[in-house]
């Protein structure tokens, strides 16, 4: 129970409030689909069975949750320092481009060499990309939210440039795409499942960063910085190094998402990478209250909602965008439920968690 709130009451609060918010958003969504002429109870049932109803739908859900876990870490880790980084979209793309590039310069290498190289390339490229934003924040006072947003667009433009020219595979006609990393270099499926190994990377990434942030000196120092940067400096905490390293790790997670999107799903870089994993990841991080361990279930929940989209269209004649509306309602209601923490009488005397996990940081 120490995982959640520090005390049994805090834990109960950390579970009850999101569950209540989820119930409220389901009611709102039910009214929405009822206005469209569908039966809300039937829609709920379809979403449940499409997301978690069978082994088949579970696999679909986990597959979709994988990139979200890694991109969520890109926001959740810097949040511990009081930074709001929204650059996962760009780091994912840069990681994907580095993955394709490294695979093309290792044509004869063995399967495991190439896969290791691809993962390292994706993680370092993504890490440097977000680390750059972190460095700008610390050394130049450039706001990390805006710089990481700008870096997203620069990454997209860079990818469009590379897949339309220098890295273009002329054999692919329907949309400009880079070379393929090679069928024999692809990361396979987890034995016994129809889900690729990226899921394991995602879960391990969340657990490792949770331990790092919660049970090491590094994480302790990071939380001090997030609490009060001036006090941290006074206590001799190396704020600059912490900011840089945290942003490097955060970017590496998103870069790894890029590697798995290439090496386990698409095989080549193209605009099919730009589907908003980075932006959804930001919300996963906020819904998980910036706790890396809580990222896992939240990502699975959102992956499940995504997975149910096709079924709604088939069974209830609702547009596939219905699940996007549902996702939006859930996000808004959960964010709006934030002030309820520490206000319900049942949970009083419990330790009040800091807002969203993000503590406004004073001018550094």
């Amino acid at each position: 129970m120490r995982l959640l709130g520090g005390s049994p009451r805090g834990a109960a609060e950390a579970l009850t409030i999101p569950a209540g918010a989820l119930a409220v958003s389901l009611i709102l969504f039910g009214i929405f689909v009822a206005m469209a002429g569908a039966n809300p109870l039937g829609v709920y049932e379809t979403i449940y069975s499409g997301a978690f109803g069978s082994w088949f739908s579970w696999q679909n859900t986990l597959q979709r949750a994988t990139p979200l876990m890694l991109t969520a870490l890109c926001t959740a880790l810097p949040a511990r320092l009081g930074l709001v980084v929204i650059g996962a979209e760009g780091a994912l793309i840069i990681g994907a481009l580095a993955t394709v590039a490294i695979a093309s310069v290792l044509p004869g290498a063995s399967h495991w060499t190439v896969i290791t190289a691809m993962m390292l390339a994706g993680m370092s490229a993504g890490g440097l990309w977000v680390g750059f934003a972190g460095g700008l924040r610390y050394y130049r006072g450039v706001n990390e939210t805006i710089s990481s947003l700008l870096l997203n667009y620069i990454a997209i433009a860079l990818m469009n440039h590379l897949v339309g020219g220098p890295m273009r595979d002329p054999l692919v006609l329907h949309r400009p795409s880079s070379w393929h990393v090679g069928e024999r270099n692809m990361i396979g499926l987890i034995p016994g499942m129809d889900v690729h190994w990226g899921l394991v990377f995602g879960v391990v990434g969340c657990i490792v960063t949770y331990v790092l942030m919660q049970h090491t000196v590094f994480g302790f120092a990071a939380r001090i910085v997030g609490g009060n940067v001036r006090a941290a400096r006074m206590a001799g905490v190396p704020v600059g190094r912490l900011t840089l390293v945290t942003c490097l790790i955060a970017g590496a997670a998103a870069g790894l998402a890029g590697t798995t999107e290439i090496a386990a799903v698409h095989g080549r870089a193209s605009t099919s990478l730009v589907v908003g994993y980075g932006y959804t990841g930001i919300l996963v991080a906020f819904l998980a209250r910036q706790n890396p361990l809580a990222v896992i279930p939240v990502a699975i929940l959102l992956g499940g909602i995504d997975a149910a989209g096709g079924l709604l269209q088939r069974w209830h004649d609702l547009p596939d965008a219905t699940v996007h509306v549902m996702r939006g309602i859930i996000f808004l209601v959960i964010l709006a439920s934030e002030p309820v923490y520490g206000r319900l009488r049942v949970f009083q005397q419990s330790v009040v968690a800091p807002s969203n996990g993000v503590v406004p940081r004073e001018a550094a």
Binding site: V84, I86, L136, Y138, Y139, R140, G141, V142, N143, T145, I146, S147, L149, L150, L151, Y153, I154, A157, L158, N160, H161, G164, G165, G276, Y279, T280, I282, L283, F286, P319, A321, T322, V323, H324, V325, M326, R327, G328, I329, F331, L332, L335, A336, E338, P339, Y341, S355, N356, V358, P360, R361, E362, A363, A364
Partner: protein, 306 residues
């Protein structure tokens, strides 16, 4: 480009800048107004697409594109009101709410917009300032849409209003120091609500331009991110509505430079030109930011400049 050769490039860029800058102009004026009141709204991308959908839908159903523009603005107001009322609650992060609203707005627009992808709706008119010329390129470049003209008048008007009216003073006071504004008797949350609602109205109109003038149809890929980019544009323009006009022309022109150069045979680096405004904004921020103080011209209450 045969008749004009290389001269066609600046001409095409000018025409493209006016055309491409209009959505940037409206969204950035809206964002500027919201940020002046001390809050950032990252949800304007959703507002823009919602405006594009509703404007097109209403124009198709009623036959009046201007009614479409009005409805698009109204949809933007509703989304702005949602943003402001959630953000007014304690300990809520305005960046997260903005991103949630962006995804919500996109989802809702795709959901409601399905029936409008095929049909043709009446489009907004343009004024042919190039009537005197024989050259089709000159005529095309000087065909200016009415919304751009409205925006070009609105920008200095907004600047004037911010510094010369009671409303402008309230918005700036709330954006610069909420506590001081509160002691002066301003209702901080209400002023921010109005700032965000008005900003949403303008962003919705910017969206209707996309579907009702250029590219001039509704589909799910109608926006190329102008709503989010407006955030960068406002910083580039130093929170000055008049500078937003020039920055919008610059951002729009950068987008038009690629196709214009392509028409005279330069095809490489096409996408890098699109990235130029973002690199410029980033360089500008690196050059002018400091660890000691906030950005010049920035509202002090704004979370992203602290």
């Amino acid at each position: 480009m045969e008749a004009l050769g290389w001269w066609g490039v600046p001409l095409a860029v000018l025409g493209g800048a006016i055309r491409g800058s209009t959505p940037f102009l409206f969204v950035s004026l809206g964002e500027c107004l919201t940020e002046k009141s001390g809050r950032i709204n990252l949800g304007l991308e959703g507002t823009l697409v919602m405006g594009a959908m509703s404007g097109y839908g209403v124009s198709y159903l009623t036959g009046s594109p201007w009614l479409g523009v009005l409805v698009a603005g109204t949809c933007g107001m509703v989304l702005g009101a949602v943003h402001a009322s959630i953000c007014a609650r304690p300990r809520v992060n305005d960046i997260a709410v903005g991103i949630a609203l962006m995804l919500f707005g996109l989802g809702l627009a795709f959901y409601l917009g399905k029936p409008f992808i095929q049909p043709n709706a009446p489009r907004l008119p343009a004024i042919p300032f190039g009537w005197w010329s024989e050259s089709p390129q000159v005529r095309a470049a000087l065909e200016v849409n009415v919304l751009f003209l409205i925006g070009a008048v609105l920008a200095p008007g907004l600047l004037w209003a911010l510094y010369n009216t009671r409303w402008g003073l309230a918005i700036r006071a709330v954006g610069d120091n909420a506590d001081a504004a509160r002691t002066m008797g301003y209702a901080v949350d209400r002023v921010r609500l109005l700032g965000t609602v008005a900003g949403g109205f303008l962003a919705g109109i910017g969206g209707s331009f996309l579907s009702l003038y250029y590219p001039g149809s509704w589909n799910e890929a109608i926006s190329s991110g102008q709503g989010l980019m407006a955030v960068a544009l406002v910083i580039f323009a130093r929170w000055d509505p008049l500078l937003c006009l020039f920055a919008a022309l610059l951002f729009g022109g950068a987008g038009a430079l690629g196709p214009a150069l392509q028409s005279v045979g330069i095809t490489s680096g096409y996408y890098l030109f699109n990235a130029a405004p973002y690199m410029l904004t980033l360089l500008l921020m690196i050059a002018t930011s400091s660890t000691q103080r906030t950005l010049k011209g920035a509202p002090n209450e704004l979370s992203v400049t602290k």
